[in-house]
Amino acid sequence: MNMPIYMDNHSTTKVDPGVIEEMLPYFTVHYGNAASRNHTFGWDADKAVEAARERVTKIIGADSREIIFTSGATESNNLALKGVVEMYVEKGNHIITQVTEHRSVLDTAKRLEKSGINVTFLPVDSNGLVDPDDVRKAITDRTVLISIMLVNNEIGVIQPIEEIGKIAKERGILFHCDATQGIGKVPVDVQTMGIDLLSYTAHKLYGPKGIGALYVRRKNPRVRLSPIIDGGGHERGMRSGTLNVPGIVGFGKACEIAMKVMKEESARLLSLRERLRKGITDSLEEVYLNGHPARRMPGNLNLSFAYVEGESLLMGLKEIALSSGSACTSATLEPSYVLQALGVSPELAHSSVRFGLGRFNTEEEVDYVINRVTETVNRLREMSPLYEMAKAGVDLKQVRWRK
């Protein structure tokens, strides 16, 4: 077993060796600018970009003329929200999103709010799911965009995209989906899901960092956007800047591999995830699952370990890369807003750990992690005054804490 163990695949992923191999010549041999029209370096680069475009759109069931390459999903989300709001300003000034979106959607929506746009932030239920009926009820005749993510990055829950897409279509409102965590993990089809704009990024699916895309529907309806980056008019004027050719080639290859292996890989990850969940919950008491137990992407497990603070747990697992919703891992000292939106108590949010299984994790690693987590939680519980009080029968909710 190789150490350290990487189990933080929602944060980013290792680049697949097949992806690297395809990218390399675009640094060393075909290093032309895809916008150069007068020599073979440019033509070769352009050809590679167009081939990659086919692959990147195929995985979402779209046409190759329907995507804009960006620097990643953060930019795609910014472009979708800001671009639509600016373009459709005559039609309305209201957008709908929900509280557990990634910061690149939430903070963009908050900025739009400051400039006079009305934003509805829908709640989620205790499983982390949005109620499509809430979406329907939030729509007004001034609504121009609905933005709901496919898979949540912390708890892995899968939103009812198809139902929301149907509602958006019925009411003639554009529907944007941040599918960053879902692409290559769960099936995505912009037609059946009724998606008009979709954000994704290569580095979450074993591709390189710094390259992403925004799908923009061309017909039924034709979506128009105002660009947020001006310049040389690349990507049909929607996103200026020299194309990241090796990145795009890698993104294409990553999508191709993902399409090929997704079915088998999902089944394997689901079985590893369940092994991990069962292994941990069988050996430790008072471990709580965050997010819907079944409607979640295969590689995600998010657990709260009562009486143990998340960051201290990760510190005891230093040879294992994981992530925590504890405040101590953020600059704000606030625990995960996603878990809080589910109604998870702040103390359990502080005690949460996200396990992100991916393509390169093995059963042996899962078993090792089960043992190390068990051992470390037990050790920290022995040091925890909360555990001691709970064992002595004290109701922690009734204690008057001295802050």
């Binding site: 143990v308 510190m315 504890s326």
Partner: protein
């Protein structure tokens, strides 16, 4: 952010973990912080004739919180109650090389010592 060697040492080998019987007359107990804030420290002192003869702690919190309380127990042992009252959180910050976002951990440890002494005094009629 990487932890300092001192924090790692206290986290891996915490000094004086445990509990005294809190109703014993010579024991002072301080419990500070709150679960919803992500840190709770329980610090106990055993006091004989104005001198802290033993100390124990239990902490729910990040590595820096554990290290701060571990260090605090180490420091107060053998000190007089009056000396212990003068311990400053900044001494802990310095010794553990805590970054700015972790300073509250050291404040909590200072508060825990004071709370434990207060408790001792209250229960011993002074």
């Amino acid at each position: 952010m990487p932890y300092s060697d001192e924090v790692i040492d206290h986290y891996n080998n915490p000094r004086n973990v445990g509990s005294f019987e809190k109703d014993e007359k010579d024991v002072g107990t301080g419990v500070v912080g709150a679960p919803e804030c992500g840190d709770v420290m329980k610090l106990q002192l055993k006091i004989d004739n104005g001198v802290i003869v033993d100390a124990k702690f239990k902490t729910f919190g990040c590595g820096s919180a554990i290290a701060s309380s571990s260090l605090a127990t180490e420091w107060v042992k053998g000190k007089s109650v009056d000396e212990a009252m003068t311990l400053k959180n900044t001494d802990i910050v310095e010794k553990l090389h805590l970054p700015p976002v972790k300073i509250h951990c050291s404040v909590l440890a200072e508060d825990a010592i004071k709370a434990a002494i207060e408790d001792y005094k209250k229960r011993n009629g002074g």
